[in-house]
């Protein structure tokens, strides 16, 4: 008889506000703030001979111009976020470069003026003399090491790491068949529709710093700013208001603006705001994806893998602020859903004179999936087997969970798959795909993946029932469109037996919850969702404790439903949560719903102190969830495509995604995440390419030339769900945010190869690239 919200297609509570133009994105706030503008290096590698800001300082409306020499932290290297013992040559940039710039777009000076127009005028007056240095513009140049990005880093190697599980050399030696592949994945970019923005104000009287930041991790930013400015953490407030998409690169510690804007606000005594423009977003915000893999696989005559040896290089960009997370994820996830009896992976993280890299939706997994799925297809081709059949023969079976890969995971623990059913995923995917459409130049593509989601360390939630009976729930993780306010409300509403519309959710505001981590790694539903469940459960227990005293009934006989605590089986014996909220706070002065029950002359005088020993006032609780390990989601995608033999235009005729993220909180939102992820994957597989030249210049830094898919390029997916609940968390959920994007490169490669008969060993493709590959195959290179 209790309504259950978990699993329902609840419409989003966020939408009405956003649809009316009442969103609150960072640049919408801070009216009257001073505005900043950066001077950035046009060179990918150069010595800074001098920076002359005198003319800019005299320009109309200018309040400050900062160079490294003007900053108390100008000589400080920015933090290396996730150190790793193998990262022996970690390097991070400084807030503003003063001697060497190592990528085009690196910040050199920061101008603050009365408005953005005046700041841009003044930025034009900043004179910087550069002496260009030799550029390392791609992975081959980095590996060749004839030129160095950092003179003190030999071979441009930031880190080298080898992992093995099993004796790969013996396994390859013993394999009846062996094959080598060389596979390439190029740079990609997340490109959220809202760029980054920061607005800061300093209250000198209260010594309180308030920062609005379009970040995925306000708590981390707060911690870093408190250390930098030597303030108590409680005196620094960081809020991520509405954020217009993020997809990974909005988490950093720090981008230079995240220090400069607060610093300027404190120094100038006025609020300061900086809003990125699209052109600078292209080079100043982190990229991802570029890797080059050398693979050797050994397998038997039935197509079963015996050994897999992978050696790859990862393009770090000019610095390693995010440690080795990306290549570690690639390395650990490369075997995917398959049993690989012997696996060895070695990677080298190489510096280039390009924008630094950090996770972008998928985070090392699209590359891993591309590699293993290309291996599967090549085995199938060699043996004349169906591609699906080779996968069937190699899958980890449903009775093999928990499945220990023997590999080290991104949080330092062992990568152990918790649950899944890969054979069923594939069969369901093929069933939904249906028969191949008639016609020439049609190809079928297939890709299966796993995704370690919901990494720790922890996340928290505070849940409070107000005296109105409404519920306010807060978590540190901010939303960038994932519908947190709706799905977390569903979890809380179930635990408290209230209507989902009565739960108001706040995220990403350190004023509401001190502790937390952030939104990344498909972790919010797992981490914050379960923290919400824990916190709301504590509130429910407390509500029952108070009600049991009032109703003189054992707590165990009570249930929460319909906004009340009721006696099971006797629903007319009940107390509304609003009244319990009043009772939870023994007051001399009473107000709110049911106040007459809560005064010191309450109808039921109690023995002992009004607030029981160990009890806290308020119908509220804070709860945390910390996972024993990652929850491993999985999925199978398949597509039919048509490639025009003259124009090489790609048309996706049918695209099926079957997805298993454990128990589904809200199918509507999940389907949106999958559809959106696949769309980003399609962009990254066939349209988007960051076109760097030999001088490290990004030649297509605009939406005119960096071609993101419009509606015309993205089909409506056929989506299937499978639910193997995660045994690791109370809700049984796994993450879903990144999943859609992961196998798309593998699927498109497989489908195009099938359609044209051209071996595909690289991502992204494009019509021009297919034209070239086709000519090469025909022995008629352009």
């Amino acid at each position: 008889m209790t309504t259950r919200w978990f699993g329902e297609r609840v419409l989003r509570s966020e939408d009405e506000r956003l649809l009316r133009g009442r969103g609150r994105y960072t640049d919408d706030l801070g009216e009257g703030a001073l505005e900043g503008c950066f001077v950035r290096s046009p060179y990918a590698h150069a010595r800074v001979v001098f920076v002359d800001v005198e003319a800019a300082r005299r320009a109309p409306g200018v309040r400050a111009v900062y160079t490294a020499a003007d900053l108390p932290f100008g000589e400080m290297d920015l933090p290396l976020l996730i150190p790793h013992p193998a990262l022996t040559q970690g390097r991070t940039q400084r807030c503003l470069a003063s001697r060497i710039v190592r990528y085009a777009g690196e910040a050199v000076a920061f101008v603050v003026a009365e408005d953005r127009y005046l700041a841009e005028d003044a930025a034009d007056l900043v004179e910087v003399e550069y002496e260009p240095l030799p550029v390392v513009a791609n992975l081959e140049a980095a590996a060749g090491a004839e030129r160095l990005v950092h003179p003190d880093v030999p071979g441009n190697v930031a880190a080298e790491l080898t992992q093995d599980a099993g004796d790969v050399e013996a396994a390859l030696e013993a394999s009846p068949r062996r094959r080598r592949l060389r596979l390439r994945y190029e740079r990609g970019a997340a490109q959220p529709m809202e760029g980054r923005a920061v607005w800061a104000r300093w209250d000198a009287g209260e010594r309180r710093l308030t920062v609005y930041d379009s970040t995925q991790s306000p708590t981390s930013i707060r911690g870093g700013l408190a250390v930098l400015f030597d303030l108590p953490e409680t005196s620094v407030e960081v809020i991520a208001p509405d954020v217009g998409g993020a997809f990974g690169p909005k988490i950093m510690l720090f981008y230079p603006d995240e220090l400069l804007v607060p610093h300027a606000a404190m120094q100038l005594g006025r609020p300061v705001k900086w809003t990125e423009d699209r052109r600078e977003h292209f080079t100043a915000v982190n990229h991802e994806r570029a890797q080059l893999h050398e693979v050797e696989v050994g397998y038997d005559d039935e197509g079963r893998i015996q050994g897999l040896d992978v050696d790859f290089v990862h393009d770090a960009g000019a610095y390693t602020p995010y440690g080795l997370i990306l290549p570690i994820i690639t390395a650990a996830q490369l075997p995917g859903p398959y049993r690989v009896p012997a696996y060895r992976v070695r990677f080298r993280d190489l510096y280039t004179n390009l924008t630094p890299t950090s996770p972008y939706r998928g985070a090392g997994r699209p590359q891993a999936c591309f590699v293993i799925e290309r291996v599967m297809d090549s085995i199938a081709a060699e043996l004349g087997l169906e591609r699906a059949e080779v996968r069937r023969r190699n899958f980890i079976q449903p009775d093999q969970f928990p499945y220990d890969t023997g590999l080290s995971w991104q949080d330092g623990s062992r990568a152990v798959y918790d649950s899944g059913d890969y054979p069923r995923l594939l069969e369901e995917c093929l069933r939904l795909l249906g028969p191949r459409p008639a016609g020439d130049n049609v190809g079928m593509g297939l890709g299966v993946y796993v995704e370690g989601t919901g990494v720790g360390p922890y996340e928290g939630a505070h849940v409070q029932v107000l005296v109105s009976g409404k519920v306010v729930a807060s978590t540190a993780v901010p939303s960038q469109g994932q519908g947190h306010a709706t799905v977390f409300a569903q979890v809380v509403a179930d635990a408290l037996g209230v209507d989902v519309a009565d739960v108001e959710v706040h995220g990403g505001d350190t004023r509401r919850l001190q502790w937390g981590v952030g939104t990344f790694a498909s972790r919010s539903a797992v981490m914050a969702g379960n923290a919400m469940h824990v916190a709301a459960g504590l509130v429910a227990e407390k509500a029952k404790r108070i009600a049991s005293e009032q109703l003189e009934v054992d707590s165990a006989d009570l249930e929460l439903a319909g906004g009340e605590v009721r006696v099971r089986g006797t629903p007319d014996r009940a107390i509304p949560l609003s009244t319990l909220a009043v009772l939870s706070n023994p007051l001399r002065y009473a107000f709110g719903g049911g106040a007459e029950m809560a005064t010191q002359f309450t109808p039921k005088p109690r023995q002992g102190p009004p607030l029981e020993r160990g009890e806290q006032p308020g119908l509220e609780a804070t709860g945390y969830y910390s996972p024993p390990g990652s929850a491993w989601a999985s999925g199978a995608h398949a597509a039919y495509v048509h490639v025009d033999p003259d124009t090489y235009r790609l048309e996706i005729l049918r695209y099926v995604a079957v997805h298993d993220c454990g128990r589904v909180i809200n199918p509507l939102i999940l389907e949106g995440q999958v559809q959106g992820g696949v769309a980003q994957g399609i962009g990254g597989a066939f349209y988007e390419r960051l076109a760097y030249d030999e001088e490290g210049q990004l030649r297509n830094a605009s939406f005119m030339e960096f071609l993101m898919p419009y509606s015309t390029e993205v089909p409506e997916l056929v989506i299937g769900h499978l639910e193997t609940p995660s045994p690791l968390n109370p809700l049984g959920v796994k993450g879903a945010g990144e999943a859609g994007v992961i196998p798309v490169g593998a699927v498109v490669a497989s489908a195009v190869e099938d359609a044209l008969g051209i071996p595909v060993t690289e991502m992204p493709l494009s019509p021009l690239r297919l034209f070239d590959l086709d000519r090469l195959r025909a022995g008629r290179p352009r």
Binding site: G244, G481, G672, M704
Partner: protein, 155 residues
């Protein structure tokens, strides 16, 4: 110029973009700026009922015209415009940043052509970028908006 039915003074500076004028002078921050070079469509507003990109216009160019922004689209605080309502019903938005541009572009399309064909719908939204939804729910929202505003839904 008339913005959402209210007469407004001309921008203080001739070089002020219409998008900046709306956002920062009038406080109508529902108009979003995604690329500042006229490709993404986030800044779309209606000028005399037709969609235009406010980042590609100077504020002074809107002098003598009627401008409708997302804040001026809904008939009341209670009711939404059919396109807004359709987006809500169809999960047509995630982060919401591109949404005002889409909603206004579609509202402009339906005002001109209440029963567009599938092809006309596809063309009508092909000038706006969305990085979250993958467009399927937006296309569904257009079909729904056609229904809600009394047009006939394409087969």
């Amino acid at each position: 110029m008339i913005v959402n039915g209210v007469e407004r003074p001309r921008p203080g500076s001739a070089r002020r973009l219409l998008s900046d004028y709306l956002r920062h002078d009038l406080g109508l921050t529902g108009t979003h700026v995604g690329c500042e070079h006229g490709v993404c469509g986030c800044c779309t507003v209606l000028m005399d009922g037709r969609p235009v990109r406010s980042c590609l216009m100077l504020g002074v160019q809107a002098e003598g015209h009627q401008v409708t922004t997302i804040e001026g689209l809904a008939p009341s605080n209670e009711a939404l415009h059919p396109v807004q309502q359709a987006f809500k019903e169809c999960h047509g938005l995630q982060c919401g940043f591109c949404t005002p541009g889409f909603v206004l572009a579609i509202a402009g399309l339906l005002a001109e052509n209440p029963s567009p064909s599938e092809q006309e719908i596809e063309e009508g939204i092909a000038g706006n970028l969305c990085r979250c939804t993958g467009y399927a729910s937006i296309r569904r929202a257009v079909f729904r908006a056609v229904e809600l505003s009394g047009g006939s839904r394409p087969e």
